[in-house]
């Protein structure tokens, strides 16, 4: 099957395929370096945003000090300090904590959004009902939810819930829009071929709305990150990248704060490459003409 295809189809798959996305991060770094230079030279007397290398130094510092860092030390029942460099020292603990929180909250939100998004796509009544609610929930910032949830639940649970709430609404909207775009004809064809509702969902709605689900995932995931930071800031001193940012902000340690922001961005970039881009590859061929 595949060998036949290789001969006839216009397959231009090289091992080494150029992509403009390679320039994204370097250009961002370049912009950062130049912006700081410019600001140093013309705007501020003292450096407000740390230079890239200062952040790298801070990174090294944190990696070297697996223990006794202000941020992990005073955690109630804090975990034992990590001993290997590849655990990234205290930074590793922050990343791991945030990663856990964000993944659990996000996956939960995704499952619910998949369900509600499809419901809203199918049922006009439910769509009408849920649209204003989505609007309202999306506009209330996580920072307003977080204190409440932290009151009611364990800190970890509360943060996961904040992440969930932040991610679910935009994903519902994106998936709903995707379902609405599916051509009635395709659904009819599948039904006429005997597809039962469940099959219709898995074999037609799901593949056909994959582009929108990916868009929803992208937006939802970044919402999740954003909310995480807010929630970690509110939830008292502890571990997590959001906490690192908040604490560094509080203490005026701009390099550490930037480091936290960079890692928040970096993790979301890694997700982009490893998850969303992969899904996208599956429909790129049939989608673009």
């Amino acid at each position: 099957m595949s060998s036949v295809q290789d001969e006839r189809l216009p397959v231009k798959q090289k091992n080494f395929q150029f992509s403009w996305s390679w320039f994204s991060i370097p250009s961002l770094l370049l912009f950062w370096i130049l912006a700081v230079y410019f600001m140093d030279a013309f705007v501020f007397e003292n450096r407000v945003i740390p230079q890239v290398w200062e952040v790298v130094a801070e990174f090294w510092e944190m990696v070297k000090t697996p223990t006794d860092a202000h941020d992990t030390y005073y955690t109630a029942g804090g975990e034992e300090p990590k001993k290997y460099w590849w655990t990234l020292g205290s930074l590793g603990a922050h990343i791991w904590q945030s990663f856990k929180e964000v993944v659990i909250g996000f996956v939960g939100a995704f499952i619910v959004a998949l369900f509600l998004g499809f419901m809203a796509g199918f049922s006009k009544g439910f769509r009408e009902y849920i649209t204003p609610l989505n609007g309202v929930f999306m506009s209330i910032p996580a920072i307003a939810w977080a204190p409440l949830l932290i009151l009611m639940f364990e800190k970890f649970t509360a943060i996961v819930l904040v992440v969930y709430i932040a991610a679910v609404s935009p994903m519902i909207i994106a998936i709903m829009e995707g379902v609405l775009t599916i051509k009635g004809q395709e659904v009819r064809a599948a039904r006429a071929l005997g597809a039962k509702p469940k099959q219709l969902f898995f074999y037609v709605y799901l593949p056909a709305s994959l582009p929108f689900i990916t868009a929803g995932l992208r937006i939802g995931f970044s919402q999740a990150w954003r909310a995480l930071v807010a929630a970690e800031m509110v939830g008292g001193i502890g571990v997590g990248l959001g906490h690192l940012v908040a604490m560094s902000d509080e203490l005026g340690s701009n390099a550490a704060m930037m480091l936290g922001i960079v890692f928040i961005g970096l993790l979301s970039y890694i997700f982009e490459r490893l998850v969303f881009r992969r899904i996208e590859k599956r429909y790129e061929v049939w989608r673009l003409h």
């Binding site: 009819r188 071929l193 005997g194």
Partner: protein, 264 residues
């Protein structure tokens, strides 16, 4: 092929059917009974309601009143015993040609992957598309897409086959080939076929019975049984006297229908 009942079965009954799109009435008190195993063609001018009728038969549209019943129950689109070939080939763009053809079998879930592949390949070859099994639909020509869509409906070997101008996009020769293939299949499996076409020759060549639809909402203009003997084969059938007679009559009928005013 066990699941297909060769003859037997029950008629498909359209009883006192009313249907309208909002203010635009398409059918008023339509009555048609399709006998099991019958090959029925429906012709009529563009916009007279042929596609609408097929949608009512298959259960995609609900009648305003009256009923379409097979063995006492209305047809559901999901019914595995009927197949539908749409006026526009509606292939799934994310599946390859062969996967499109296999789709129905996969939904039924009765065959192993290799059996499915084999059956699908059989029908794909029948519509002349061997060698294109790994193409994505958007890389096929219009006529090729339509043929894939035909193969897709046929693989299920349905007892009732609803076809909406399935060969409209094909050249004369391919079309004749397809007609013959369809007849062979029909004679073998004995399905009931409701066939929409705008080609008079095709209708006469294939059918047991032909219905000429009038402009809405006037319903049936003419309904007659063909006396052309079976088995039918190529030039022989197409040149027999009865064929020419029917052809002349039908042309006149359609001209008549077309002359009547356009729907207000």
């Amino acid at each position: 092929m066990d699941s297909v009942q060769h003859v037997g079965g029950d008629p498909l009954v359209i009883d006192n059917l009313y249907f309208s799109y909002g203010q635009l009435t398409i059918f008023e008190n339509l009555n048609i009974t399709v006998q099991p195993g019958e090959f029925l063609s429906i012709i009529g001018p563009s916009g007279c309601g042929k596609t609408t009728l097929l949608n009512l038969l298959s259960g995609f549209l609900e009648p305003d009143s009256g009923s379409v019943l097979l063995r006492g129950t209305p047809l559901k689109p999901e019914d595995p015993h009927f197949g539908y070939v749409f006026q526009h080939a509606t292939l799934f763009p994310w599946l390859s040609t062969i996967e499109n053809v296999e789709f129905g079998l996969k939904m039924a879930g009765e065959l192993s992957p290799s059996e499915m592949r084999e059956k699908a390949m059989h029908y794909l070859a029948m519509v002349g598309l061997k060698g294109f099994e790994d193409y994505l639909p958007l890389k096929l020509s219009g006529g090729m897409q339509q043929r894939v869509s035909l193969a897709r409906a046929l693989t299920l070997e349905p007892r009732l086959l609803l076809m909406d101008e399935p060969f409209g996009a094909l050249d004369a020769i391919t079309r004749d080939d397809m007609n013959d293939e369809l007849l062979v299949l029909w004679e073998e499996l004995g399905q009931t076929v409701v066939f929409i076409t705008h080609d008079i020759d095709e209708a006469i060549y294939l059918s047991d019975r032909i219905i000429v639809l009038n402009r809405p909402p006037h319903g049936i203009y003419k309904d007659f049984k063909s006396e052309i003997p079976r088995p039918r084969s190529g030039q022989e059938t197409r040149t027999c006297d009865l064929f020419w007679e029917y052809k002349k009559d039908l042309r006149n009928d359609i001209e008549e229908v077309a002359k009547s005013a356009v729907v207000a």
